[in-house]
Every structure is written in structure tokens, then in C-alpha cells.
């Protein structure tokens, strides 16, 4: 028996504009609304809308045997409402099939877990409420920003009432073990689902690469790889960015055809099925406990935090941002608090990563700035403006 568990990450940050030293004190508009609208509309039409249509169709054609899960960030949902509300409608239609599970994460796709547990909890609750309001769905499984994970997070998530959590099936934590089983975190009685990065990346990274030995990848070939797991594993967790479909891998390279044909090919083998994370946890018992004291993530080769807080400028910017926490919250100024939280979105720190100067160009592709230093300068200038706003805010203003 092999179950396929799809989870798609849907996220769009509020990208900062180039905020100059000359804007400090005179402009409190930090975000590039025009660019955000442009990107959101483009990705919606290239990816979210067509992919949702196909998945809705697949669920109906398979009589509900095809199942998927999503984690949609609060900032993405806000931008859908602003710029492309039909995306929300299409997720609502998916939700109504009962074959779709929504996961929780931080509303702002932030690194708050690493810097402020208090803030982290607030953002998780905000997200939970948002998903409840929009989809009448109460998530029971959690995934943290960029699959950042350690033992401590698992305990915290357990305390907050979730019964499962997602993480990267990184080699250095698994060793000889396979990611194709359900595990249990140390010191938390919840389920732990690990990403099968080989098969996930075959779709999300390598699909369109003509130099890859698996190229071209069609649904029957992928289904045969899935069948090979039969007998030495019971679940394959395919976790990836939803933008894989149509944005990172292009439609004309056949990514949508691949998706269209995959369920049929996988279900050809009667032992295979599709599950959502919650169903996986019901169906399979944990085979072992995994002790992961050091933080892991799904990023880059290192599978660590170095993409967001690996260099000096990243650490500096994050430090100054979270130093403002008490003052910002004490202000009870809704706009200030919202701006501060939008700045916490992990992408803002990813743009400051200097690793890619040496290895690979993935970061560069996703970077709206010419250079990581430009991202740092904009954010630090914004934080200077923040300090001014906090100082001049009328004292007596209440909620």
C-alpha cells in the first residue's frame, strides 16, 4: 500500500518597495503595490487559477479519490482579495469537495518561531481564524514557514492543539531511515510527516530540465517510481510550492498535462491511493520517534536557516525588526502593527542572502532587488522610519 500525500504551498509576500533614506519621516508606504498586483495577477492566471481548475476536475473525475492539501499564507489571501478575488472563490469550490485539507502556518509566513514565540502564536491564531472565516475549515495539521522545524516547535504545536506537523525529510536527520513513513516527534504525541525530497523535487525542480536523466517526465514514469516504494514504505509526501505548476515549470513544457494524468496513472495500481495529511495520520501509525534538536528547513542544499539568517546583514535586520516588538504592540496602532508584521515575511530576509553569489541562482531568480545589499538598505531605512512613527505617535490614542 502506498499513499500519495500532496501538499502545496501558496504564498506571495507583500514586496517592499525601494525605500530610500529620503523617504524616512515623509513616506510611510513601504510596499510596492503596483509590483505586487502585477505579480499576483500574473501568477494567478499562469498558475493558481488553471491549477485549481484542473485539480477540481480531477477530484470529480476520480470520484473523490484524488486528494490534496494546501497551506495558503494570510498575506497571499489578502492579496487575492485585493487583486484577484476569483482565486479565493476557486479555493472555496475546492474546499467544498471535502477532498482538500487546509494546513495552518504563520499568517505572515514569518520566522517568528525563531525570534518570538509570543508573536509566533499570535500569527498562527490569525491564520487559523482566516482559514476558518474563508473556508469554514479548522486546520489540524501545521507546517511552519519553509518547513523550519525542530523538537521545540513540535511541542509548541502540540500544545496549540494540532495533531500533526510537516518537516523536511533531510538526509542528515533521517540517516538510514526512510521518509516514507509516519514518525513521531520527540516529546510531542503528534504525527510527523516528512517530505520525500527526491520525488518532490523531481516535479518541482527537475521536471523541465533537459539535462536530467529523468527528462522528459510523464505521468506513467512517475507512477512507476511511486510503485517502487510499495513494500518498503507506506506514504510518499510530495510537498512543494504550488507555483511549480505554470510558474516555475511552464505550461508549454507539459507540467499541467503531467498533473492531469498523474492520478489516473497512480490509481492504476490498486494498492495506491491519495491522502491528505490528516488522513495519513489516521491511516498510519508512527514507526519511530525522531529527535531533531537542531533546526532544519527545506531550503537549499544545506536544509538549514542560512538562506534567511546566515549572514551579518540578515541577522542585523532581523534583530532590529524584533527589537521593536514591545513598542509596536504597546502602541496599539493597527496600521503600525500590520506594517511591522508584513515586514516579518521571510522573503524579505531571503532577498538579503549572499550565498547565491557562489552557488546556484535560485535566490537570484526570486529576488526583486539587484543585490542583497539593496534589500538590506531598504529594510533598514524602513525601520528608521518606524522608529520615528513610534516616537511621534499621539500618546493618548487607544484601541
Amino acid at each position: 500500500m502506498v499513499s500519495l500525500c500532496f501538499y502545496f504551498q501558496v504564498h506571495q509576500p507583500f514586496r517592499m518597495r525601494r525605500y530610500s533614506v529620503f523617504d524616512i519621516g515623509s513616506s510611510h508606504n513601504y510596499f510596492d503595490n503596483k509590483k505586487n498586483e502585477e505579480i499576483l495577477k500574473k501568477v494567478s492566471s499562469k498558475c493558481y487559477l488553471p491549477a485549481n481548475r484542473i485539480i477540481l476536475d480531477l477530484i470529480s473525475k476520480t470520484g473523490g479519490k484524488f486528494k490534496v492539501s494546501y497551506s495558503i499564507t494570510g498575506v497571499a489571501l489578502e492579496q487575492f482579495r485585493l487583486y484577484c478575488p476569483e482565486v479565493i472563490d476557486s479555493f472555496k469550490s475546492l474546499s467544498k469537495t471535502g477532498c482538500v485539507e487546509f494546513l495552518d502556518e504563520t499568517y505572515y509566513h514569518s520566522l517568528a518561531f525563531l525570534y518570538s514565540k509570543k508573536e509566533f502564536k499570535k500569527q498562527v491564531l490569525m491564520h487559523r481564524k482566516k482559514i476558518m472565516d474563508l473556508f469554514r475549515f479548522k486546520p489540524k495539521v501545521f507546517r511552519n514557514t519553509e518547513l523550519i522545524y525542530n523538537n521545540e516547535l513540535a511541542s509548541l504545536i502540540h500544545e496549540m492543539g494540532y495533531n500533526g506537523i510537516l518537516a523536511e525529510g533531510a538526509n542528515h536527520i533521517l540517516g538510514w531511515r526512510s521518509p516514507n513513513f509516519v514518525y513521531r516527534p520527540k516529546s510531542a504525541r503528534i504525527g510527523l510527516l516528512l517530505r520525500n525530497y527526491m520525488l518532490s523535487d523531481d516535479i518541482s525542480f527537475r521536471f523541465g530540465d533537459p539535462n536530467w536523466k529523468g527528462y522528459p517526465l510523464a505521468a506513467p514514469k512517475f507512477a512507476s517510481w511511486v510503485n517502487k516504494v510499495n513494500g518498503n514504505g507506506n506514504i510518499i509526501n510530495l510537498f512543494m510550492d504550488y507555483e511549480t505548476f505554470g510558474e516555475h515549470q511552464w505550461a508549454d513544457k507539459g507540467i499541467f498535462d503531467f498533473l492531469r494524468h498523474l492520478p489516473k496513472e497512480v490509481l492504476r495500481h490498486k494498492d495506491n491511493d491519495f491522502v491528505t495529511p490528516s488522513q495519513a495520520l489516521k491511516k498510519y501509525n508512527p514507526v519511530a520517534e525522531l529527535d531533531i534538536p537542531n533546526t532544519i528547513s527545506w531550503a537549499d542544499m544545506e536544509r538549514d536557516l542560512s538562506a534567511w539568517c546566515g549572514n551579518k546583514i540578515q541577522k542585523e535586520a532581523i534583530k532590529h525588526l524584533y527589537l521593536l516588538e514591545n513598542k509596536v504592540l504597546a502602541s496599539k496602532d493597527r496600521q503600525l502593527i500590520e506594517d511591522w508584521r508584513k515586514l516579518q515575511t521571510s522573503d524579505n530576509f531571503y532577498y538579503m542572502c549572499t550565498k547565491w553569489f557562489n552557488d546556484g541562482d535560485v535566490h537570484k531568480y526570486f529576488n526583486p532587488y539587484d543585490s542583497p545589499y539593496d534589500a538590506f538598505i531598504s529594510l533598514m531605512n524602513i525601520l528608521n522610519d518606524f522608529t520615528i512613527r513610534l516616537a511621534i505617535r499621539p500618546k493618548k490614542q487607544k484601541v
Binding site: R18, S20, V21, F22, N311, K312, I313, K315, E316, T354, F357, D370, S371, Y373, D374, F376, I377, M380, N381
Partner: protein, 394 residues
């Protein structure tokens, strides 16, 4: 392999990128199995043979001439004027032609497999040598007339000399992709024969000097280069004005000389920032390094910079740099800040950011230093040898 090279005197006699590049490249080449006859103009006050110090593989042939790289007609007249009955040509161009003839004389008695010339004043000499010897010729483009004039009012004589050299050459070496594009676009050279060989620097730990006294009171932002249209000193001033409006505790230092010197001094007065803009004059030898070390930040706002070795020299002195995107060096250095030369708001923004945000300055210093540690003149030398081999072998 024997190379007949027409080049320029080395620092500290000659200052500027061209002399430095000739020196670095010759040093790199002489480590391999390449023998160089290096022909250069000299004005007679040269005390020691720098080339002799380089390697036994290098033989020097001097031609008495006051020519200097990027000399203008006015500058030439000033120097020649002090020697009324001299053998030198009465105009710059006449002198270049006289130099060319003298160089041809040297070419006649030398044995070589390939000719390599550096920038337009030597192209004529290279062409003569090629005609006589039927040996392949390489021209090395360190700058074009379009760079020197900031993309307008190119001197037609110089343009023609450049174009003729590039067309006669069997291969053209450009110091950056930025320059290759110009060679192809403005001079109509077949891109297949233009090879990009980036300049480099030999990294050695800079001596650990203490920060000078002045740094304790003021933050120092440095411009170092010829004060000419090409180098963008006026953009430096405009950005200074904007940055000073926010942080008056900055001192802007302009080191160098050139035909825009008076204009820049007057402009500083007009912007009423004369008390914050100091002119250090033309710096030589150790003073150059001292200036880099004194600065908190080095700016190279060039309008059109084929390479920009000063950026690497500043980094070597552990000074963060802001360079214009219109430069060749921006193709090889990542850990620096880059701006469009005309975007003075952004330049001021970045100046203030480096001076305000300590970790930004630290990162730029450390990461750029470790970035250029990998650099060496051996790499461009290797690429030149490959180009030689392709021409001689074929």
C-alpha cells in the same frame, strides 16, 4: 613564444589603470614560457627599469617621448612647450606618428611571434610591425574614445586610430563585456574576434594601518581618479550635497586632477558645500593607499568605465565601495554596492546606508576582501596566452 608588446610605463612613474594593467599582465605573462620585448615611451626622467625587476623574460626598449596614456592635446602642449627646440612633434597626433615610426624601427630588429598593443596610441606601431613581419596582432582595449568623452563628441582622429587598430588586429581583447559591447557597436568589429579578459589584482594582505586621526571626527567618502567627464565627479558632488542635507558630519574628498577640476571646485562652492568637500590633488605612490585606508567608503561614479581597477585597489585596502553599473568591474565583484551613475538620489541613499548601518559596512569589507583574494593577474595572463596560441598555431 616571443611577444612584442607596445605598452606603458608602470606605477609609480605612471599613474592610472593602464600602467597598472600593463604591469600586472606582464608580470603574469612572464611567469609562463613567454618572452616579452616591451616597448614604451619615456620622457627621460625614468631612474630605474621597473621591467627589469619583473623578470629576466622581459626586455625593455624605450623610445624617448613625453606621451602618456589618455593625454589630451592641451596637456601635451603644456609638457612640450617647456622644450621649444625638441625633437617631439608639435601636436599630440604628430607625436604619436613620430612614436609609431620609431617603434617600427624597433620592430624591424626584434624577433617575435606575436604583437600585442595597449590602447590607441600604440595601435599604429602595432600595425607597422604587423605589415613588416606578417605576424598576428592583438589589440588590447582598456578604454575607448566613447568612454573618455562620456559617450559624446568623440575625437574623429582618435576614433579612426582605434578603429583602424581593431580592424587590423587578428584578435581584440576587451577588459569587460561592457567594453566588448562598445567595440562591437561603435567600431563594427566582428564579435567573434573580440575576447573578454577582465583585469585583476594580485592580492596581498594590506599592511594593518591604524585609522587616521580624522576618522574619529568625520566620516570620509572618497573619490579618486582623473577629474574628467568620464569619471563622473559632478555626480559625486550632487550626491554629496544630498547626503550632507541628512548627515552634515561627512567629509567628501576628491583626489586626482584633470580638465574638470576648476568646474568641480566652482560647483562645490555653488552648492555651498565647499567646507565639506576637500581636494587632495593628484596622489602618487603610497599616498594612494593611504587615501583608500583613510576613507570609510570609496565611490567610483564613472559615466563609462571599461574596467575600474581603483575599485579593486580600494577593496584591497579593506574599504567598502560603491561603483557605477556602467563599469567593467561590476561584472566581477559582487560584494559592493552598484548604482546607475546618473541616479544621485540612490547614490546618496547608499552612501548614508554604508555610513549608518555598521553591519552593512562590515559585510562589504569582509565579503569583498575574501572575494578578491581569489583574484590574480595569472588568470588574465593565461587567457592572453590562449589567445596567442590560437593565432600562432592557426
Amino acid at each position: 613564444m616571443n611577444v612584442l608588446m607596445f605598452g606603458w610605463e608602470f606605477p609609480p612613474i605612471s599613474s592610472g589603470g593602464l600602467g597598472t594593467a600593463c604591469y600586472g599582465l606582464t608580470k603574469g605573462l612572464s611567469k609562463s614560457d613567454v618572452k616579452i620585448t616591451f616597448v614604451l615611451p619615456y620622457a627621460g626622467d625614468m631612474k630605474s627599469d621597473f621591467l627589469k625587476l619583473v623578470s629576466a623574460n622581459v626586455k625593455v626598449e624605450k623610445i624617448k617621448s613625453p606621451l602618456m596614456p589618455y593625454m589630451t592635446q592641451t596637456e601635451y602642449e603644456k609638457i612640450r612647450g617647456s622644450q621649444p627646440h625638441s625633437i617631439y612633434g608639435s601636436t599630440l597626433f604628430e607625436e604619436v606618428e613620430r612614436y609609431t615610426k620609431a617603434a617600427a624601427g624597433i620592430a624591424k630588429k626584434e624577433k617575435f611571434d606575436i604583437i600585442h598593443c595597449h590602447d590607441w596610441m600604440t595601435y599604429g606601431a602595432g600595425i607597422e610591425a604587423k605589415k613588416m613581419s606578417k605576424k598576428p596582432m592583438v589589440v588590447h582595449v582598456h578604454a575607448t574614445e566613447f568612454d573618455r568623452t562620456g559617450n559624446h563628441s568623440a575625437n574623429p582622429y582618435i576614433y579612426n586610430a582605434e578603429k583602424r587598430g581593431m580592424w587590423f588586429a587578428d584578435s581584440v581583447i576587451a577588459v569587460s563585456n561592457f567594453t566588448k559591447d562598445k567595440v562591437v557597436y561603435h567600431y563594427g568589429v566582428n564579435p567573434d574576434k573580440v575576447h573578454v579578459v577582465h583585469n585583476s589584482i594580485d592580492f596581498n594582505e594590506a599592511s594593518d594601518n591604524k585609522a587616521p586621526e580624522i576618522r574619529q571626527h568625520k566620516k570620509i567618502v572618497l573619490f579618486l581618479g582623473r577629474i574628467t567627464l568620464q569619471k563622473g565627479p559632478d555626480y559625486f558632488l550632487s550626491a554629496a550635497k544630498k547626503a550632507l542635507a541628512i548627515d552634515p558630519n561627512i567629509l567628501f574628498i576628491i583626489a586626482g586632477s584633470g580638465d574638470m577640476e576648476r568646474y568641480v571646485i566652482e560647483k562645490a562652492a555653488e552648492l555651498s558645500i565647499s567646507d565639506k568637500v576637500l581636494f587632495a590633488g593628484f596622489l602618487k605612490g603610497d599616498d594612494v593607499e593611504k587615501a583608500y585606508k583613510m576613507a570609510d567608503l570609496y565611490i567610483m561614479p564613472s559615466v563609462s568605465e571599461p574596467f575600474g581597477l581603483t575599485a579593486l585597489e580600494a577593496i584591497k585596502c579593506n574599504t567598502p565601495v560603491i561603483i557605477s553599473k556602467q563599469s567593467g568591474v561590476s561584472e566581477v565583484v559582487q560584494h559592493c554596492l552598484k548604482v546607475d551613475f546618473w541616479d544621485v538620489d540612490e547614490l546618496a541613499n547608499k552612501i548614508l546606508a554604508v555610513l549608518r548601518y555598521r553591519q552593512l559596512k562590515n559585510s562589504l569589507q569582509e565579503d569583498a576582501s575574501s572575494e578578491i583574494k581569489k583574484f590574480s593577474w595569472d588568470d588574465p595572463a593565461k587567457k592572453c596566452i590562449e589567445i596567442y596560441n590560437n593565432l600562432v598555431g592557426g
